[in-house]
Symmetry: C2
Subunit: 397 residues, 2 copies
């Protein structure tokens, strides 16, 4: 019979998707250029030309059976080697190809990392605000996702609550820095304190606690800063990456898990992930895309527009009296709404063709997310709408 | 802690892979052209030029954010529509895009089809000989794979044993026609009888029994015949397909599940598969490859070489006294070994640089598989080696 678990899931609606659907419908009425659609985290900057040129060259020159043939279930050795070398150059790590497991995007990376270290009966802790897809990603493995409440002052980690929630069942901690939805980058101080606590607790409980680091926004950092590389702080780290944002290739579904070389059983984890793949029907990324990306592994798209947009929005939001923590990266900003119920707030904004996402599904109430991966010209036009919205609806703020 | 289930799986060795590894090593010693490597089912014929030309044109002309952007989690509407139309034209079905769930290859298709209809406590029946990866595909979902013994006379279905093994816990039956490893195509008579039994038993048990039809070899049919389209025989059929073989694109990981429009809850099954994807970290095929394939959805590679190779091998094997059922399709043949222990038989063959796969992991003992997706010139040369092998090792056969 058709399995009830999944049938029941059909009832739940994604708030982000509902917002995006509204934007599409409204666009049909007034022209999409007039809808200030801040709902979706879809990269807006072009793919590097080098990727396109290289991929065309592969198709033109390579023998088709070679180019499109089966890759090993752990991915092409050349791709794995180039990823390892790039990470070593940039973050002073000691990865080899044996530590890199290519995956079908970040979802594939998280599915493997989670299954390596957690099973039914285990708990995985994450920190609000968090990407709502972590719920099905974790809960359908049999393990349970527990959410540590946010530190809304800084959107760094709420360590007091975290230490209370850690327990013997904690198999892993799942973090996302730079963070969707807050745009905050965890500081070196935060990561060091997190690592110290995990080390102490692992010793106390007599078992490893893994750190699963979801970092698809690693390359989108503002103010010429560098995000601390999570795996340098804690040896039992599985870094989950996707080229969706850095190369603007979300539809090409290419990412990887990088296993810290000093991790427990580091040399077994990639072979274990290959076994996990057999159970979940995963295939490594497509041969053509691995070959295309391996040539541009140190490049990124020109992502400066995200910083431009962030500054425009941050300045305007601050001017209008919003409480907002300035993002250190990503293409998200996460201000406090002007009334307690973020859903009501976001619904009012729709009257001004501003599509904002209420924060509840991110595990925090009373905030909203704006995904500013849109043209700067549109951001500029939206500032007037934002001002009209606030001055009309919240004259006494 | 690292999950023991997967760690334990590392002990098991794939016989097919061991054979392929031997072939590679031996190739380094004597030149790979001198190793008669019948181990791997890797397509040997070129990808249709139309695919390559169309994909280059997409890369040259399309705006990169459009081309490589996120597709919906159920895949691109254009790809789904073209698949449905192609199936309708060829097999007189009534699919719409809503019945097509694009997947990352056949492994992805089976992972979704199985999870739709079976969960812990359920049984799935399959028929020997069978593709050994069905074991992890099914058993890691919590359901259990049960194997109906082979009818070694014809390699059609052993109905007597099947009817005994069917029971209230049977959630689905998994078939593979044209079959890996036997090369046999289930006849319309076989499929009709299978459908009748399933219909009767479903009524008796008071619940649906689904037919999961794994059909990546559907287009490789010999003697100008047509394989009966499984879904026409039984309404609760989920057809799992991959373009790996028909377009020689195994590394590009593109396939689909086609839900019979008259299936129970037909309109819910694709949305349910999208929910399953969230739990297993599946992503639909890559945007570029969906766009590339949708344009050539009615084409196949020129696969006539497989039939040429089959005839050469079948005639020689018969001449040498082997018992062998003539394949109706695929690029496999499955003769009876010349001694009871197929492993010993295949080991002896290695002395003649013939790499054959013993049948035990396919659920039948005493047979061997030859994957003849290799150059005809090499097949011809291998016939002498086969003759020397048989005459030297089995002079009294």
């Amino acid at each position: 019979m058709i399995v009830q678990t999944y049938k029941n899931m059909l009832q739940a609606k994604s708030v982000i998707r509902e917002c995006a659907e509204f934007a599409t419908r409204r666009g049909q009425e007034i022209g999409y250029e007039n809808v200030f659609d801040y709902s979706l985290g879809n990269p807006s900057v072009p793919v590097p030309d080098a990727f396109t040129e290289h991929t065309i060259r592969l198709l033109e020159t390579q023998e088709s059976n070679q180019l499109h043939g089966y890759s090993p279930s752990v991915g092409l050795p050349s791709f794995r080697t180039k990823v390892a070398e790039s990470l070593n150059r940039r973050f002073d790590m000691n990865y080899t190809a044996a530590h890199i497991f290519p995956t079908s995007g970040a979802a594939g990376a998280l599915a493997h990392a989670i299954r390596c270290v957690a099973e039914a009966g285990d708990e995985i802790l994450t920190f609000a605000p968090f990407f709502p897809e972590y719920n099905p990603y974790v809960n359908l493995t049999g393990a349970v996702l527990k959410v540590v409440p946010a530190d809304t002052e800084t959107f760094q980690i709420n360590f007091e609550e975290f230490e209370e929630m850690l327990n013997e069942k904690t198999a892993a901690v799942l973090i996302n820095t730079p963070n969707n939805p807050s745009g905050i980058v965890y500081s070196a101080e935060t990561l060091k304190r997190l690592a110290d606590i995990l080390t102490q607790r692992a010793a106390a409980y007599g078992h490893d606690i893994f750190l699963i680091s979801d970092e698809p926004y690693r390359e989108i950092i503002f103010d010429r800063a560098e995000a601390p590389y999570v795996s340098k702080f804690y040896k039992n780290t599985l870094s989950c990456y996707s080229y969706s944002k850095s190369l603007s290739l979300p539809g090409e579904r290419i990412g990887y898990v990088a296993v810290n070389p000093e991790c427990t059983d580091a040399e077994l984890l990639v072979p274990i992930m290959a076994q996990i793949s057999r159970g979940i029907g995963h295939n490594c990324p497509t041969s053509l895309i691995m070959r295309g990306v391996e040539d541009v592994v140190d490049l990124t798209s020109d992502m400066s527009v995200y910083e431009t947009n962030m500054n425009l929005l941050y300045d305007k939001l601050t001017e209008l009296g919003f409480t907002v923590v300035r993002p250190g990266g990503t293409f998200y900003i996460f201000p406090k709404a002007l009334e307690d119920d973020a859903k009501v707030f976001c619904k009012k904004a729709l009257k001004y063709d501003l599509v904002l996402v209420p924060s509840d599904s991110f595990g925090v109430s009373g905030y909203f997310r704006m995904a500013y991966c849109i043209d700067t010209e549109k951001v500029v036009r939206s500032l007037d709408a934002l001002e009209r919205f606030v001055e009309t609806e919240y004259p006494d703020r």
